[in-house]
Symmetry: C2
Subunit: 206 residues, 2 copies
């Protein structure tokens, strides 16, 4: 499915939240939900949810709600996670290994196929994932047509790793290093930095 | 410093991003910056940065820019990270241990003082952090007046852990379990779910 260029990125950012909530409802054995129920669970107004979904067509009928399996399938298709994306991890320290072992990827559209590190002591199997030397990274990306990578290296190495990933063909980077990366316009970066989330909460603490 | 109730949460959410960029500039030996330079680094418009900061007073002069150390100190004070917050981790699996070992907390206002797990095999020292049994968690929170916790347990246990944390006095939770938590109004929750970030990017991939 082609992306819809006119849809605000902030709307796209909420679709994975809706999809996750639908997965949970389904696990609880429900088959029908409503924008009201979703909104209550997520702390988002039901009007906002209806407006967000209306960008992509008509998913529910007034008064009857959404069929969960249908809306779930549609959101997966829109987000392009109705397939499995192969991805790599760069950095096999504590965090990189925790990501390699994380069981939450496969059911939601992603599979870690390799990790890379410069430290020879970290090479070899880590759980189900093979840790290879970083010198093999660019060839691996090209051979396997990898489009997604997670960066879990120290801040001072992250930009260099990022440049190598992009040069080899990666187009989406989830960066755990606490720095802002420079990338070309056709590469997407998302950041995970726990301190940012913590600092956002301390503002409100007494 | 009391929080400013009239300031939109989305503005508060950008302050940690500015603070992190200032830290980086300072490490690079710079003393002065501008909304233009910050904006270029962060992919945020300079007008947005000036508007965000104007909520909190006058930090720079037209044409001379911001003194980095001054703006940094002010943002730390506003976010209340001009002190050290003690926090705990619940769950000492791969992720919990990676968080316990993470060296990026202390320089930015946070210290992990203990981790908790129900599995006896995981108790004892993990790096510098002691892993205690979850049965001791609520007493520990009260004794040490802990206000911040990170949840790194499986999704099916996260709400129960959350309820225990809140009952013992925790007011800010960083949740790594892939579910939405129910909390009272006076408790803040932030979420880290790598799949959400990945799904937001696959939307844009060809």
């Amino acid at each position: 499915m082609a992306s819809h260029p006119s849809i605000p990125d902030i709307v796209i950012g909420r679709l994975p939240i809706y999809l996750r909530a639908l997965n949970q409802l389904m696990q609880q054995g429900k088959t029908i939900t409503s924008s009201h129920e979703l909104g209550q669970r997520l702390g988002i107004s039901s009007a906002q949810i209806r407006k967000d979904l209306s960008h992509f067509g008509e998913f529910g009928k007034q008064g009857t709600g959404y069929q969960i399996s249908h809306l779930q399938a549609q959101l997966k298709q829109i987000l392009q996670v109705d397939r499995e994306w192969q991805m790599i991890i760069v950095g096999a320290g504590d965090l990189g290994r925790a990501l390699a072992h994380y069981r939450g990827f496969v059911s939601r559209g992603f599979r870690v196929v390799a990790a890379f590190d410069i430290d020879p002591a970290r090479l070899g199997k880590s759980g189900d994932v093979e840790v290879l030397h970083t010198s093999q990274m660019q060839d691996f990306i090209k051979q396997h047509n990898i489009k997604i990578a997670m960066i879990a290296v120290p801040a001072e190495n992250a930009q260099e790793v990022c440049d190598q990933l992009v040069a080899a063909g990666v187009r989406a980077i989830l960066n755990y290093a606490p720095i802002t990366l420079s990338v070309p316009n056709n590469v997407h970066v998302q950041y995970i930095d726990p301190v940012m989330h913590l600092q956002r909460m301390t503002y409100y603490l007494e």
